[in-house]
């Protein structure tokens, strides 16, 4: 068998965003052939975006290029490179029919009529599992198509263009774990069936491991390491590689032996909570959600977007009344409390969320930390100040920035600030709502460390709301798996991971397992 056709070959490629800038890509030598799976792994600012632009032939006008970048074997008839963006990217116009836009993309790249392009899309769809009305539902504008379906539609579009290579720009970002797992296996299956090259640009090492194949690690424009995941995990690889690959939370990463089993009083009791009133005749009596959380214990509510996790949490902290069932916090049924009493109760609750808008951008960093102290505790201003600066140091934010506005901080620093605020208020219950969302791998590792440390030192009861089993495992002992408003599984996390009974749980676990999923990646590597 002859060598597969080359897709691209970069030799000593140097790219500058603007003449005279520090090179965004420096002396890069990298290539891919048909059938390859190559992940370009690098954080923001590593130059992966400009490398992708160069491959697509869309370098910004002021950028300069040195060295060589050959597409195909250098002949006139180059390989067809197809761009696959993520579902959250804004490649599609928000108010126009999705299907029409996707058809136009296919029609333009293959110089087909609209009708032929539509048939191409149908053809690509045939090999993928889908519901019969999928294309019909795509006639809605992109903002009204679910994230998973948007990702799927973009994948179909890329496949319909008969690519020699798919250049994926973090195409799985923004998907929930089980969706991401599903999409990754589809992508790999099609890749090995059709034999195109998959070049995946991402900052997420979990995805890189999941895809298998080769990984090229970019750091500040330089290729620091390059090889299969096994080679990269060996001791010979670059230290940065180890840091990066170990950074993202993954199952079995933080084994903590002999967890103390708290035998204390229950702090939070949820009894037959349901999202609709049970007397709704169409539904019949749902059994509802029931669980206990003891003082100092920690429980994970594992559920994806749309599982009802947000509504449950809002009811638990008394922001909205529970439609059905009782919520008992510290032996008090919060359903009967006045607003003022509820607010007083919530002083004992801390909150860390993945939503970066949670902090008032107008407040200073110091003010953000002191606010709950001022509202909840009677402390002299001096003590408040010193306590605030102590917590700031603990989460790794310097004392100097206490006077800066919270809105001026980076996403990582804002997350740190949220944690500092929680620590300062010393709550009995801390709700962590997707605490690592929107951070890159190294940031996730830092925040997870901080949260674990808080758990060890302050010992509040934790309620971890996440879709990611690895985060749940690192922070909690027991878990409830929520799906569409119901509990589909419960038990200790160790058990759930070891022997998941439910297919849904299996998928969630697989999404964050350390090993690349069975078979597929090997098959991909052999082609």
């Amino acid at each position: 068998m002859s060598e597969p056709r080359p897709i691209f070959a970069a030799e000593n490629l140097t790219l500058e965003r603007k003449r005279g800038d520090r090179p965004a890509i420096a002396e890069l030598t990298l290539g891919a052939r048909r059938g390859d799976v190559l992940t370009v792994l690098g954080r923001e600012g590593s130059g992966r975006d400009i490398l992708l632009a160069a491959l697509l032939g869309e370098l910004p006008g002021r950028a300069t290029k040195a060295g060589s970048l050959t597409l195909g074997d250098g002949g006139d008839d180059g390989p067809r490179l197809t761009y696959l963006p993520g579902p959250e990217s804004r490649v599609l116009a928000p108010f126009v029919s999705t299907l029409a836009q996707l058809t136009r993309i296919v029609a333009r790249t293959l110089s087909l009529s609209r009708k032929e392009a539509r048939e191409k899309l149908h053809g690509a769809l045939e090999h993928l599992p889908h519901t019969p009305d999928f294309l019909a539902r795509l006639s809605r504008p992109p903002r009204r198509v679910a994230c998973r379906e948007r990702a799927f539609a973009l994948l179909v579009t890329a496949l319909a263009q008969d690519p020699d290579a798919i250049l994926a720009d973090d195409a799985l970002a923004g998907l929930e774990p089980s969706e991401s797992e599903e999409m990754a296996s589809l992508l790999l299956k099609e890749q090995s069936r059709r034999g195109f090259a998959l070049v995946y640009f991402t900052g997420d090492p979990v995805v890189a491991t999941r895809l298998g194949g080769r990984i090229a690690i970019l750091r500040e424009g330089k290729l620091t390491d390059h090889g299969t995941i096994e080679q990269l995990q060996s001791t010979k690889s670059h230290s940065y590689t180890h840091v990066l690959l170990r950074a993202a939370p993954r199952l079995g990463q933080r084994p903590r032996d002999a967890r103390r089993k708290p035998r204390a009083e229950p702090l939070l009791q949820v009894r037959s909570f349901a999202f609709e009133k049970a007397d709704d005749p169409r539904r019949g009596a749902a059994e509802g959600i029931t669980f206990d959380l003891r003082r100092g214990a920690s429980l994970a509510l594992i559920g994806e977007h749309g599982s009802g996790r947000r509504a449950l949490i809002r009811a638990v902290i008394g922001l909205e009344p529970a439609p059905q069932g009782r919520i008992i916090f510290d032996s008090v049924d919060i359903g009967i409390l006045s607003r003022a009493m509820l607010a007083r109760l919530r002083k004992r609750v801390g909150f860390v969320t993945g939503d970066d808008r949670a902090l008032d951008p107008r407040m200073t960093v110091g003010g953000t930390i002191e606010e709950p102290m001022r509202a909840h505790m009677r402390l002299p201003a001096e003590e408040r100040k010193s306590a605030a600066s102590a917590v700031l140091k603990r989460v790794g934010l310097g004392d100097m920035i206490a006077r800066q506005k919270a809105g001026a901080l980076s996403a990582l620093d804002r997350r740190r600030l949220q944690i500092a605020r929680v620590i300062a208020a010393n709550p009995q219950l801390v709700v962590l709502f997707e605490p690592l969302e929107g951070l890159d791998a190294l940031g996730q590792a830092l925040i997870l460390d901080l949260l674990c440390e808080m758990r060890e030192r302050e010992g509040p009861a934790l309620l971890v709301v996440t879709a990611n089993f690895a985060i749940a495992e690192a922070l909690a002992d027991d878990a409830l798996i929520l799906k569409a408003g119901r509990i589909v599984a419960r038990g200790t996390i160790a058990e759930l991971v070891r022997a998941p009974q439910d297919a849904y749980v299996r998928r969630l676990v697989a999404a964050v397992s350390a090993a690349p999923a069975d078979g597929l990646s090997q098959a991909a590597a052999q082609v």
Partner: protein
């Protein structure tokens, strides 16, 4: 930060906007200084007649001419401006307290009656502010025209600040604060402090512009300032008869009034067509 936020921030902080706002503030300052130095700036006392020939045109010997009774227009305009400004400054706290502050407070504290008050404000906004002012002046008596003007401006100010507070309360960070047990008063204090710091000058200037227009119009119609103390509105009303042959009698008070309102509107950052 959403696209609209950044767009708003951009227009608010564009160099031209900042320059115009500064110009407005400088204008207000200059007019204020003129009024503060009233006794030095105006060569004649208020209402002093026969300072020269009646209806003398501008330039010599009176730079701005004289009116029917031989009063020096320049001195009269300065004195009128002083009365108008004093009245406006008196009406401003009423508009700010009954409008802006009350709206902020209602949005934060009144869960059920707040929306009702907001709806009532909407109903009042539907009535032209001038009618409201006339109504209040009739109810409260002419000596209280200042209060009437302040109250007439209040509904619009109430609605604006209620809506602003409401959107702040619906923001993710307010939600987050509530989730961690901050009570209504803490949130109120926090939002109030930031709003004061950010926009009090613009809000006050906006109310000032509205109040000046109302006060002058009230006086023009005879509901406002009572002779012998004359404000700009009354001066313009008195000059009506002589206007065809002696434009300067009404022209210069009008110019002063226009400058005052223009400066206030610029300081408030209002654009053309936007109601004060």
């Amino acid at each position: 930060m959403s696209a609209t936020d950044t767009a708003a921030a951009r227009t608010n902080s564009s160099p031209l906007r900042i320059a115009l706002g500064g110009l407005g503030l400088a204008g207000l300052g200059a007019l204020g200084a003129l009024v503060a130095l009233e006794d030095i700036a105006a060569p004649y006392e208020a209402g002093m007649m026969r300072t020269g020939e009646a209806l003398a045109p501008p330039l010599a010997p009176h730079a701005f001419g004289t009116d029917l009774l031989g009063r020096d227009i320049w001195s009269e305009t300065v004195h009128g401006l002083a009365v108008t400004m004093a009245d406006a400054v008196g009406a401003l706290p009423i508009a700010l307290a009954a409008g802006t502050f009350a709206g902020f407070l209602a949005a934060h504290m009144l869960r059920y009656s707040g929306p009702l008050l907001r709806a009532a404000a909407n109903a009042l906004i539907a009535v032209p502010a001038l009618f409201l002012a006339v109504l209040f002046a009739a109810l409260l008596g002419h000596q209280n025209a200042v209060v009437a003007a302040g109250l007439a401006v209040a509904p619009a100010a109430f609605a604006r600040s209620y809506d602003r507070a409401h959107s702040l309360l619906a923001s993710p960070h307010a939600d987050f604060a509530r989730a961690t047990g901050l009570d209504r008063w803490s949130l109120f204090r926090r939002d109030l402090i930031f709003e004061l710091r950010e926009s009090i000058v613009a809000v006050a200037a906006r109310a000032l512009a509205a109040v000046v227009i109302l006060l002058s119009t009230l006086s023009f119609f005879g509901f406002g300032a009572a002779p012998p103390a004359r404000d700009l509105g009354l001066m313009i009303a008195a000059a009506r008869g002589a206007l065809p042959e002696a434009w300067w009698t009404a022209g210069f008070p009008l110019l002063a009034l226009a400058l005052f309102i223009l400066a206030a509107r610029l300081a408030a950052g209002l654009s053309e067509g936007e109601r004060a």
